[in-house]
């Protein structure tokens, strides 16, 4: 894992992605600091951080597109498979390196409130709380990016797909307000989601029995729930969407609340997508 980590760090710096990533983050941090603190004379650094979350839409795909897709395109994945490393070590090593890439500019951003405090009253707990939330948001998005990079061998496809996923996630809470909130609409929406999941399961495993069984069980369970507790369904789908949004969780940090459940949620997302990445690498050995 150490070998992968060091290799990945140095490749982030040899092929510019590390610099581009850091420069982008710091550029926008600079711009927003100037706008809020120097122009509008606001003393809340959280606003800067809040505005910056959209930067992730652009830079997370840049950071993660290469990480596993390029290995596959260059055929260096064969080297990784034949070395005495487990796929978990490979994914964790790479992810740790990407986290360092995120941590470096975040550490620089941490200096801003300290610097600004010389010219006014900055409420540090809120500022650093927001920065922590920002870092975890970035870490979770990066994990998703790593997974997307693991399923394709083209960097461009990985970047495009990653951008779309980030974008949908970014607008998820606004989109959810357009979804009808009646109980039946929620039921129908869940049914469609389950159908999609079953299709993905079938596509990945090519095992129609398992997919069909999963579909029948899930849809049956859903229908049973709807028939017994139809009332609970009203407005449930938009609510779930809003809770799933990674960005929405981040805004509680901006509002000055250090939300431990959000941290746990981010860690869960990280664990889940890294697990999926490992599985995706393992699976490639079976189907290649």
């Amino acid at each position: 894992m150490n070998a992968i980590f060091r290799h990945e760090i140095s490749s982030c710096f040899t092929n510019l992605t590390g610099y581009v990533f850091g420069a982008f983050l710091l550029l926008f941090a600079g711009i927003f600091t100037m706008v809020y603190h120097l122009n509008y004379q606001v003393a809340n650094f959280e606003y800067v951080i809040s505005e910056m979350s959209f930067v992730f839409l652009i830079i997370v795909p840049i950071l993660t597109m290469r990480v596993l897709a390029e290995e596959r395109r260059q055929r260096t994945d064969q080297l990784l498979y034949s070395l005495p490393l487990s796929m978990a070590q490979v994914v964790l090593g790479k992810y740790a390196a990407l986290l360092c890439m995120l941590l470096l500019p975040t550490a620089v951003i941490c200096l801003y409130p300290l610097l600004l405090s010389a010219f006014g009253d900055i409420y540090f707990p809120a500022a650093f709380g927001a920065i922590t939330g920002f870092f975890f948001l970035g870490a979770a998005l990066t994990a998703i990016g790593v997974f997307i990079s693991s399923i394709t061998e083209s960097q461009a496809v990985a970047a495009g797909l990653c951008f779309v996923v980030m974008l949908v996630n970014y607008f998820l809470s606004s989109l959810s307000s357009f979804v009808a909130s009646s109980a039946f609409a929620s039921f129908a929406a869940f049914a469609v989601v389950i159908l999609l999941l079953v299709l993905i399961l079938w596509r990945m495993t090519r095992n129609s029995t398992v997919a069909l069984a999963a579909g029948v069980v899930l849809e049956g369970g859903l229908s049973a729930l709807y028939l017994t507790e139809a009332f609970e369904f009203s407005g449930l789908f938009p609510e779930v969407l809003e809770h799933l949004s990674l960005f929405q969780r981040f805004y509680t940090f901006v509002n000055g609340i250090f939300d431990w459940t959000a941290i746990v949620y981010y860690l869960t997302i990280i664990g889940f997508f890294l697990f999926l990445s490992v599985q995706s690498l393992e699976k490639r050995r079976w189907s290649e």
């Binding site: 150490n2 992968i4 290799h7 260059q74 064969q78 498979y81 034949s82 070395l83 490393l85 050995r285």
Partner: protein, 336 residues
């Protein structure tokens, strides 16, 4: 050292390797021989843990490659068909990464890298980016990677493909050097290479092992017939008449070459080769018909290969696409 038992690999409905079993001992150079698409690379990929088999088992030094991958993989160094190189690195950085991944301590690492670079003669390009290196040097860096940390088994998949003749000779010498203290397995569809380098040949066709022996033994076993080729300034009927008078010639095939010339291919019992030549010479000289060419071909590894891999028809003309004649394969027809 390596044991492969009932290995099968299916891609959907296509079976790339079917029920392949063999064992590989210590300290020899083994050659995997087979036409393109015979399943050589697939087998090697499974042996090194890059691919999972549909069924069957591979053990390396007693460790199962699937169950105890970490331990088994420490015993092997693998160079896939396309050298897995990070193009934006220098060979030294690349080898440092591989060395660390193979668990070499920081203290031993520079020494180990120097050693493999000396063996593969890559020391003078050690600090140039791999993307600027020629194919031959890239191949060497790939081999350097495989022999780093001194694994007991070195597996090389088509190590000389795409190299110029001089580089091929250098890589072959390198492989022979490696064979002195490693078990080397290499795959190739070039017969002369396998014949020159390997002590044991495993011939694979359509995912099955069809022969496993030393090149000499294979030649002896499969020397099914003696073949003599002649060209004479004579008509078809004359040649036909003369040949039918020679008892040791069991079969012949005449082609007219134009300008009043005829070529013929004669086959007889393997021990009768020289006898056929003698009789043909005397018969044609008695008839005062000039022989322009008379040469005896003995069954070479190439014929054995074609016979074993060509649906049992054993005819080179039937399988032109399966076996591209490359690099000196022609020279193997020994001439007398």
């Amino acid at each position: 050292m390596i044991e492969v038992k009932h290995l099968t690999k299916r891609y959907g409905s296509h079976t790339a390797v079917s029920d392949l079993s063999f064992a590989i001992g210590k300290g020899q150079i083994y050659g995997f021989l087979g036409p393109n698409g015979a399943g050589k690379s697939t087998t090697m990929n499974i042996m090194t843990g890059c691919l999972a088999a549909s069924s069957g088992q591979v053990t390396i030094g007693g460790y199962d490659i699937f169950e105890e991958g970490g331990l088994a993989k420490r015993l092997i160094g693998y160079l896939p068909e396309q050298p897995p190189l990070y193009l934006d690195r220098t060979p030294r950085e690349y080898l440092r990464f591989v060395g660390r991944a193979k668990g070499i301590g920081e203290r031993d690492l520079p020494g180990q890298i120097e050693r493999v670079m000396a063996v593969t003669q890559t020391a003078d390009v050690a600090d140039r980016l791999i993307k600027h290196l020629s194919k031959g040097y890239r191949q060497r860096v790939g081999i350097a990677q495989a022999i780093l940390a001194d694994p007991e088994i070195v597996i090389l998949d088509e190590p000389t493909v795409g190299l110029d003749p001089k580089q091929i000779i250098e890589i072959r010498d390198l492989i022979q050097t490696l064979g002195q203290n490693h078990t080397v397995i290499l795959s190739s569809h070039i017969l002369s290479e396998v014949q020159a380098v390997c002590q044991t040949v495993l011939i694979i066709s359509k995912g099955r092992l069809v022969a496993c022996d030393t090149p000499d033994n294979l030649e002896r076993l499969f020397a099914g017939s003696a073949t003599v080729q002649i060209t004479a300034e004579a008509g078809r009927e004359q040649v036909d008449r003369l040949l039918s008078a020679i008892p040791s010639v069991s079969q012949w095939e005449i082609t007219e070459a134009g300008d009043g010339r005829c070529s013929a291919q004669l086959t007889g019992q393997p021990q009768d080769g020289e006898d056929i030549c003698r009789s043909v010479f005397l018969a044609f000289s008695d008839a005062r018909l000039p022989l322009l060419r008379l040469n005896m071909a003995k069954a070479s590894l190439e014929d054995i290969f074609l016979e074993l891999t060509g649906d049992g028809q054993g005819d080179a003309a039937d399988e032109p696409s399966q076996f591209p004649r490359q690099d000196g394969a022609e020279q193997e027809v020994e001439q007398t």
